[in-house]
């Protein structure tokens, strides 16, 4: 996991146009929002950002490679559950659970008459194992699913529906095995991480910044993949799978890779969600949650990893805002959003930005070629201008692909 700093000077990159987009996002997340919002709202933004991880993964796997997974919630949930198991074990010390008939095990196990910790909970006493599991477990499952599907050339709609079925299976399993998983209640009442109380405002703010940092790490990984040959092959696969295959590439391997990558992102997001919100429940694994995650990505622009972040932020903020002021109307707004994005803006906010704001920028940059060397002189990003897109140079390269974009041609 290295940032793509092989270019001679990283400074150059930051002052390039693409770098500025990243800086604008960083400024928004690190400076503007923390200053503008109280800790409670900031915590909510942190929660929305955890969904952005899933959305970035979906950009890679759906936008670029054309694999639509309706089961990203599964990976989000698995990552979250791994973290929640660790935190729950920490919260269930023999002293804290002294009133139980078996002290030292999580409370819901005691209610379900379990008398000892199940074997698969044992390793979660270790924090380093948990961190590994947060990424490893979703990736492992993604690998198994991906291997079985992609080597048999299952794709498109079939893949979407099978992942949906997997989400259904896992939800029923988790709810049914409540002695081991906490059932429909999920794993609740998580208090400390290595002795650090995660429920205080200070801790939540710290976690927010951890989340932002992880987000940028994931963004850079995604950018690294997308800008290398690997990324081009993914896009090519989406457009003309057979031609890629006949050119000698192992299409299945690439698909498995990108699916695992998306799963890893989702797992990280889930773990951070558990930390920020303080519990995990099977409702994230279900179909509804998984499909909502797709809309984050679609709204932001399915081809833009930065767009995914904005998409997740905007949809969730709109959802919270709407449901606070018009609780009975927000499903209408949400539904209209789905339809509108698909019908009117298939490339989402990033697409809008590219077609309306970029030409303006283009003129600006041409008139003042020196301006881009100094991020300070970048025009104050208006809300519209903050919405990012892929870098111009890149966009020129990709444009022919986007124009002929059709996920299902293969």
């Amino acid at each position: 996991m290295k940032t793509p700093s092989k270019t001679p000077s990283i400074v150059n990159w930051f002052t390039s146009r693409e770098g500025l987009y990243y800086l604008a996002l960083a400024a928004l997340l690190v400076v503007i929002l923390p200053l503008a919002l109280d800790p409670f709202r900031l915590n909510m933004v942190g929660k929305y950002l955890t969904y952005a991880f899933v959305a970035i993964g979906l950009v890679m796997c759906w936008g670029k490679a054309g694999i639509l997974s309706l089961g990203q919630g599964v990976f989000f949930g698995l990552g979250g559950y791994c973290m929640a198991m660790f935190l729950k074990l920490e919260a269930s010390t023999p002293e804290a659970t002294a009133i139980q008939s078996t002290p030292g095990i999580p409370d819901f196990m005691d209610w379900n008459q379990l008398t000892e910790l199940p074997w698969f909970w044992e390793p979660f006493h270790s924090f380093s194992f948990t961190l590994l599991a947060v990424i490893g477990v979703p990736m492992l499952l993604a690998f198994v699913i991906g291997f079985a599907m992609f080597t048999r050339r299952v794709g498109g709609v079939y893949f979407a529906i099978i992942t949906q079925a997997i989400a259904a299976i896992l939800t029923i399993l988790i709810i049914g095995q409540q002695g081991y998983t906490g059932g429909v209640n999920g794993i609740t009442d998580l208090q400390t991480l290595m002795g650090w109380d995660i429920r205080t405002d200070a801790a939540r703010t710290t976690l927010y910044f951890v989340c932002v940092a992880m987000l940028f790490l994931c963004l850079f990984v995604a950018r690294f993949v997308q800008n290398r040959k690997l990324g081009r092959i993914l896009v090519a696969m989406n457009a003309q799978e057979n031609r890629v295959r006949f050119s000698g590439y192992d299409v299945a391997a690439f698909k498995i890779f990108v699916f695992c990558l998306a799963a890893a992102f989702a797992g990280i997001g889930g773990a951070l969600f558990t930390l920020i919100v303080g519990f995990m429940s099977p409702s994230f694994i279900g179909i509804v949650a998984s499909i909502e995650m797709v809309i984050f990505c679609a709204l932001g622009g399915r081809l833009s990893i930065l767009g995914a972040v904005y998409g997740a932020l905007l949809v969730n903020a709109a959802k919270s805002g709407f449901s606070e002021s018009f609780p009975e109307l927000w499903p209408f707004a949400m539904g209209a959003l789905f339809i509108g994005v698909v019908l009117a803006f298939p490339n989402g906010l990033a697409g809008l930005y590219q077609s309306y704001v970029m030409p303006l920028e283009e003129r600006l940059f041409k008139r003042k070629p020196k301006a881009e060397a100094q991020p300070v002189s970048e025009p104050e990003p208006t809300p519209e201008a903050r919405k990012p897109a892929v870098e111009a140079k890149e966009a020129r390269e990709y444009d022919p692909m986007i124009e002929h974009y059709s996920p299902e041609k293969s």
Partner: protein, 308 residues
């Protein structure tokens, strides 16, 4: 688990269990038939399928209320009127949706999924605003309740039989329409080769609209029939969606026969396992088996060979 029962008791239980499997089968056929037409023939993923079914159920609810207040003498027959109305209303809405939305998305099947999901959210909330958040109870005519006594121990539910008959007639109807009518020929022509079909003068846009409306209308009939066995509430439709898609995909998307075969397989597996295992585990196992088989045979049980 069978200690202490006489063989005749066991026989009757197995007979009834077989019937339970068959009625689950007809439920699946009803659910899946509309979707199989839309998804299989047009490649459109209609996530609002469940909501169209509930629209049919609400139509039945309204019709039953109407008959109770204005035509109490004909109440026994209201169900047939309700089914026809359900078909017409759902088909009309389906045609409208196709015209407003779907026709712009034929070249992007995964996007139809998102758009129809949005549609389903809107429909659900509309039901909630119009009919209230609570479930409504649909009263059935007297003759549809109760059971048909075959022997002392074997009792067959009348509404189960009724659902079976509806499922059967719809399956036969769809078969005739698809394979024995001019319309069906055109649909199949469009499925197999759209440009060629257009070249010989078939109005493919019209065919698409009619097919989508037909699928939605069948969903409406299914919804009407389900008022007999399930609940009618704003979000009841969601309960059906995963099962329905699995049935269609498992059968092989473009084969209507495949849909029926897969509905049969899944329903028998599920009802048998439910009898021997607990309900939740039976469901998980059934889904796992289906997903497993799909991994081995991604094109489904009965794949139609299409030149693309």
């Amino acid at each position: 688990m069978f200690d202490g029962y006489t063989s005749s008791e066991l026989m009757s239980i197995f007979a009834m269990q077989g019937f339970a499997g068959l009625s689950l089968f007809s439920v699946f056929v009803l659910m899946a038939m509309g979707l199989a037409i839309i998804f299989g023939q047009m490649g459109v993923i209609n996530m609002a399928h469940g909501e169209f079914m509930i629209l049919g159920a609400y139509t039945t609810y309204l019709t039953s209320g109407f008959f109770q207040s204005y035509l109490p003498s004909l109440f026994g027959g209201y169900f047939f009127v309700a089914m026809i109305l359900a078909f017409l209303i759902c088909a009309a809405l389906g045609a409208l949706v196709e015209w407003l939305m779907i026709r712009r998305l034929y070249h992007r099947p995964l996007d139809t999924l998102l758009a129809t999901w949005g549609l389903s959210l809107i429909m659900q909330q509309a039901y909630r605003s119009i009919f209230g958040a609570r479930e409504v109870g649909v009263e059935l005519p007297e003759w549809m309740m109760g059971a048909f006594q075959v022997t002392d121990l074997v009792e067959l539910p009348i509404n189960g039989l009724f659902v079976m008959i509806i499922a059967l007639s719809i399956a036969v109807g769809v078969y005739l329409l698809m394979y024995r009518s001019g319309y069906g020929k055109k649909v199949r022509a469009v499925v197999q080769n759209r440009p060629m079909a257009e070249a010989v003068g078939i109005n493919s846009a019209g065919i698409d609209r009619a097919t989508f409306a037909l699928g939605c209308g069948i969903a409406g009939i299914a919804g009407a029939a389900f008022t007999m066995i399930g609940s009618t509430g704003p979000s009841s439709g969601q309960a059906y969606i995963v099962d329905t898609f699995l049935v269609v995909v498992f059968g092989g998307a473009q084969s209507l026969i495949g849909t029926i075969v897969s509905a049969f397989g899944i329903s028998q597996a599920q009802s048998t396992m439910e009898f021997f295992l607990s309900g939740s585990m039976a469901k998980v196992l059934t889904l796992l088996v289906v997903v497993g088989i799909l991994m081995l045979r991604p094109e489904g049980l009965m794949a139609l060979k299409v030149r693309r």
